[in-house]
């Protein structure tokens, strides 16, 4: 069989999930077939993305122009290492999440499962679009489509509360992107005459600093998915969604699409030298630092487990934003690695939260005392996951945090250095304490024997936990993938 | 050229302003239509008088006629415009009848009052 050209593979990355969702719709009457198709689609997508990756990491840079609405401005797909990494991450975790979702959705007896799988697949297609966007316009378009596609997932249960949350979700994400992000995109297009990502930035020498500063602020605030304060409220609101959605979309795909966009804009639209000269970049990174601490403090007060995880995510996302804004290679390395490390750590935590919900119908942290004895596997995994979020060994989170810390030192930002260290302490306090309570406090209501979540859930948890530890022991591949990037910066 | 040499324009302007005033000031829909008619008539007069040639005769072809005749084109045009005007008036009156049936009045104030509640 002739292996198709990379351009075709790129297009396939968008088409496969959409076609998959079509077949899911056709097989809506047969749950087993339907879930089988979801898995097959996931595997096909991952295989496809891996094939692209194998070429991209050897230096190929495929591109594909979808349309050219205006002369000089295109809708195009193009791959660079960072997007590649993001696409790999999302497509791989989609498989795992699908396995988990099968156990969860059935165990939890959710309605409208077909709709759930269809929009899930469409969301992944949009994520692929974000990852492979070859220019700002395309990035913006897929960013918006992603918001619209995830909306039915957020409001899945259809209750009044879900609708209210869905309103906050759409309201914040759409309004920030339409008002700030789109303005910045159009302004950039008018100022520069191109929107294509290119190494070292696209703004010509001598662009007024106030223009650059304003644009950077518009980008950072406009990309609401990165959840920098004060535009973070949508993320806790989105937690009404079924847990697999929270796990994949609101710990990985959607929020990472946000920070990925910021990182990509910082690297390929602004470039290191512009960022260094901007006072605004420093202010914004301080705001990111503030978000890190403030979100952690809010998280401490949350008794609902998913709400606590959501605020933890807000805090962690700002790690990446901060790294992106610092604009030196250590910080960018750290930010890119943190995208991956946090993804595995946080998805593990969400999987565990869902497992606890399915097996014992418990939503609140205060109810988890002693649960470690009933769900040792889940609680063990939770422990590993929270260590990774805190950035402690033996987990992947340590490396990314290490590089971020180096980045702050390189940039001479002592305040931010302290923020990162303080954040570790806070994380230990509000996350690591949960499994410790689970193992060492007595059970509130006695349950005899071990009662874990359905098997598919456990498999998913096992995989993500293993990788979280594995990336600590063997970080070379990840580091190489990222540093392959760094040399080109 | 003294002011009165173009007295036809003054007539047109006077009629136009009269008609316009009635359209705006009158609250009665039928009176509004009458105002509209006066307004249109002023324009017809403007056209027709513009076609007149001094000492010209009506442009009717007959044996041994004088060569000097008025420009017939504006007159023909105004014939069309009059037809349009008649159509407009007819439609306006038809609407007024329907409004009378629906609201029981053709006074703007009454109609507004009914819409308020």
């Amino acid at each position: 069989m002739k292996i198709p050209a990379s351009e075709v593979l790129l297009l396939l990355a968008l088409i496969i999930p959409v076609v998959g969702s079509f077949f899911i719709f056709l097989c809506r009457k047969f749950p087993n077939v339907r879930e089988g198709i979801t898995l097959i689609t996931g595997i096909a997508l991952f295989a496809n993305v891996s094939l692209i990756a194998s070429r991209v990491f050897t230096g190929e840079r495929p591109e594909f122009v979808l349309a050219e609405p205006f002369s000089g401005f295109t809708l195009s797909l193009a791959v660079e290492p960072l997007g590649m990494l993001f696409a790999l991450l999302a497509s791989f975790l989609w498989i795992i999440t699908s396995i988990y979702a099968i156990g969860y959705m059935r165990g939890h007896g959710e309605d409208n499962q077909t709709r759930f799988y269809i929009f899930f697949a469409c969301s992944i297609a949009s994520v692929m679009g974000v990852a492979f966007a070859g220019d700002l316009l395309t990035l913006f378009v897929f960013y918006e489509i992603l918001t619209l596609m995830t909306y039915p997932l957020v409001t899945h249960s259809g209750t009044a509360e879900a609708r209210r949350s869905g309103r906050v979700y759409l309201g914040i994400l759409i309004s920030t992107s339409m008002v700030f992000f789109l303005l910045a995109v159009v302004w950039t297009a008018l100022e520069v005459g191109t929107l294509a990502f290119s190494i070292g930035g696209i703004y010509p020498e001598g662009t007024e600093p106030w223009v650059l500063g304003l644009l950077l602020a518009l980008f950072v605030f406009g990309i609401g998915k990165a959840a920098i304060m004060p535009f973070h409220r949508w993320l806790p609101a989105a937690m009404v969604a079924p847990t697999p959605v929270s796990a994949l979309l609101h710990a990985v795909a959607v929020v990472k699409a946000g920070v990925f966009s910021i990182l990509k804009i910082c690297i390929y639209i602004f470039g290191a030298s512009s960022l260094h000269n901007l006072a605004v970049a420093e202010w914004l990174s301080l705001l990111a630092g503030f978000t890190i601490i403030a979100a952690s403090i809010v998280a401490m007060g949350k008794d609902n487990l998913k709400a606590r995880l959501a605020y933890s995510t807000i805090s962690q996302l700002s790690y990446v934003t901060l790294g992106a804004l610092l604009g030196n290679s250590a910080a960018w390395t750290g930010a890119s690695m943190h995208m991956v490390a946090h993804a595995f750590g946080k998805i593990t935590l969400f999987f565990c939260a869902g497992a606890i919900l399915v097996a014992h119908h418990k939503k609140n942290v205060s109810e988890l005392d002693g649960l470690g004895r009933v769900m040792p596997f889940t609680m063990g995994a939770f422990f590993i996951g929270s260590l990774s979020i805190a950035g402690l060994p033996p987990t992947a989170g340590m490396w990314s945090k290490w590089y971020l810390v180096l980045g702050t030192v390189d940039a001479g930002e002592l305040i931010l250095l302290n923020v990162l260290l303080l954040s570790t302490l806070l994380n230990v306090y509000y996350l690591v304490s949960i499994p410790i309570r689970g193992f060492f406090k007595p059970l509130r209501t006695p349950v005899s024997g071990i009662k874990e979540a359905p098997l598919p859930c456990l498999i998913a948890i096992g995989v993500t936990t293993t990788i979280t530890v594995g990336l600590f022991i063997y970080p070379e591949h990840l580091f190489q993938a990222v540093s392959g990037l760094v040399t080109t910066w | 050229m003294d002011i009165l040499s173009h007295y036809n324009y003054w007539v047109a302007i006077f009629l136009m302003m009269t008609g316009f005033y009635v359209v705006i000031a009158s609250g009665n829909l039928v009176k509004k239509l009458i105002g509209l008619n006066v307004f249109q008539a002023s324009v017809f007069i403007l056209y027709i008088s513009a076609g007149v040639v001094d000492k010209g005769v009506p442009p009717i072809l007959k044996e041994g006629a004088s060569i000097l005749y008025s420009n017939p084109l504006p007159h023909v045009l105004i014939l069309t415009a009059i037809v349009v005007g008649v159509g407009t008036t007819a439609l306006g009156l038809a609407l007024a009848i329907r409004i009378k049936e629906a609201y029981g009045s053709v006074e703007e104030d009454d109609i507004h009052a009914q819409e308020e509640d």
């Binding site: 609405p69 309103r167 309004s175 008002v179 159009v186 | 629906a102 109609i111």
Partner: protein, 493 residues
């Protein structure tokens, strides 16, 4: 290609002849079918004309073989062929939608009258567009206006009558102003043929009479165009007319008025004469005000049709803004928006037609929370709304993009700010409608309805789909608008 050039006459004669036949049919469905066939045929003719002028440039057809300045001539170039296609195309698509909607909203004995008026209105609009004779413009304008008063008055609400009356008064004043203007031009030049007037004016340009004529014509067209602040008739007329009539008029009538404006400014009076007067300054102020005021007022409307009508006032502002730039790029943006806005507003009014078909109202208060019951219609509303805002991949974005780049080309950055503000206000009013339709609790005793029938959804989605198609593939729309703008500016291809 003499045959195609002779087709031009059919644009007028066929709908004019078919109109009384439709009236004789009595049966609403048959009348509808004949109207639809006629309209589609006109669309086909218009497309042939457009293709033809794109390849050979302007051509002239003399009516009855009377040579021009004496006889009336139809003059087809890229600009009006483009508008002809928009008008007949929108008419056809809206007619596809019309049968069920009309059957529901209009009494059976008036349906064939409705379609007769429709065809007469189409005749008038096409006539204004195609003719090369200034007085003929007035006659066709009145044909289209009189029939549109009838269309509007057929609305179910009794306020349709008063709205129609109000429109009649203002429309007649506007038409009479145009007549006065044409009269002055005739007095000065002694001819009514537009090309002839233009030629003769170039000798005597700057007299007070010509300037007066110019002012009368611009104000008269401004009334027809609903140029701010002469827009007062429009919101009521669109709000209370039958759903399909709103869609048809919103998509075509104001577009033809804008075409008329361009024709007089560029062809009859000429670019230099027109813009020596403070036209540009006036238009930029009025259109900016239209955008801002129209959008703000739209936010506070309870009736969705009124909301869209005020949004139309704002959108007409965008077109005039393009004209006010007095550059080819600006003109092209205006022409492009003529097309794009026809597609956007036509689509959105059809969406409302679907809502009215099922719920019998377009009032937001009564529709609260009902969007969920008609998911496809509601999705179409969102897609159309996004285009109204100007989100990338929609026609709305393409228009605004072209407009802003044209404005920045000549350094008019405040114009860009106005466009931006307009977009933000559009987010507010579209979001408000979505919010009420979808997120508010269901208001009354919860009448449960089905999705609109396919016969209504198909044309609706055709237009909404066109919104997205022409938002991505702009080759055709921008291409033709560019050629047309070039033609108007220079008179050459």
């Amino acid at each position: 290609m003499a045959t195609i050039e002779q087709l031009a006459i059919f644009q007028i004669t066929i709908p004019l002849i078919v109109a009384p036949l439709v009236f004789l049919l009595k049966n609403g469905n048959r009348a509808w079918f004949l109207t639809l066939v006629t309209s589609v045929a006109m669309m086909w003719v218009a497309s042939q004309l457009l293709v033809h002028v794109l390849s050979v440039g302007e051509f002239v057809t003399q009516i009855g073989g009377w040579a021009a300045p004496w006889g009336i001539e139809y003059r087809v170039d890229t600009v009006n062929a483009f508008v002809l296609l928009i008008v007949s195309g929108m008419s056809s698509i809206v007619l596809m939608f019309a049968r069920q909607s009309v059957n529901q909203e209009i009494e059976s004995n008036k349906r064939s009258l409705f379609y007769t008026s429709w065809l007469l209105c189409l005749t008038g609009l096409l006539g204004v567009t195609i003719t090369g004779d200034a007085f003929n413009v007035f006659v066709f304008l009145e044909i289209s206006s009189l029939s549109s008063y009838v269309l509007i008055a057929m609305g179910r609400d009794r306020r349709a009558l008063t709205s129609s009356f109000q429109y009649l008064v203002m429309g007649t004043i506007g038409a009479t102003f145009i007549l006065i203007g044409i009269g002055f031009l005739f007095i000065v030049t002694g001819t009514l043929n537009m090309a002839d007037i233009s030629e003769r004016l170039s000798d005597t340009s700057q007299t007070r009479t010509v300037r007066t004529a110019f002012a009368f014509i611009i104000v008269g067209i401004g009334l027809k165009l609903a140029m701010f602040p002469l827009h007062l008739w429009l919101p009521n007329a669109y709000a209370y007319a039958p759903s399909v009539a709103s869609a048809f008029l919103a998509a075509t009538a104001t577009k033809v008025a804008l075409y008329m404006l361009l024709r007089f400014i560029y062809t009859v009076f000429g670019f230099e004469f027109s813009f020596d007067l403070p036209l540009s300054e006036t238009l930029v102020i009025l259109s900016s005000a239209a955008i801002l005021v129209g959008s703000v007022v739209a936010i506070f409307q309870d009736n969705l049709k009124r909301l869209l009508a005020y949004s139309s006032v704002a959108q007409i502002g965008y077109m005039l803004l393009g004209v006010s730039l007095a550059t080819q790029a600006g003109l092209s943006a205006a022409l492009l928006h003529v097309f794009n806005h026809a597609v956007i507003k036509g689509g959105l009014f059809l969406v409302l037609g679907c809502f009215v078909f099922r719920f019998g109202t377009a009032s937001l208060k009564l529709l609260s929370g009902k969007g969920t019951q008609m998911p496809w219609t509601f999705a179409a509303f969102i897609a159309g709304g996004l285009s109204l805002i100007g989100v990338p991949l929609t026609t709305g974005f393409v228009s605004k993009w072209q407009l802003v780049t044209a404005a920045l080309d000549i350094g008019w950055w405040p114009v860009a700010l106005v466009v931006l503000a307009g977009s933000i206000l559009a987010i507010v009013y579209v979001w408000r409608a979505v919010e009420v339709l979808y997120f508010r609790p269901v208001s009354d005793d919860s009448q449960i309805v089905k999705e609109a029938p396919l016969e209504l959804l198909l044309p609706t989605w055709l237009l909404i789909g066109a919104n997205i198609y022409f938002g991505i593939n702009t080759e055709l729309s921008i291409g033709v608008a560019d050629v047309a703008a070039h033609w108007l500016m220079t008179g050459t291809r």
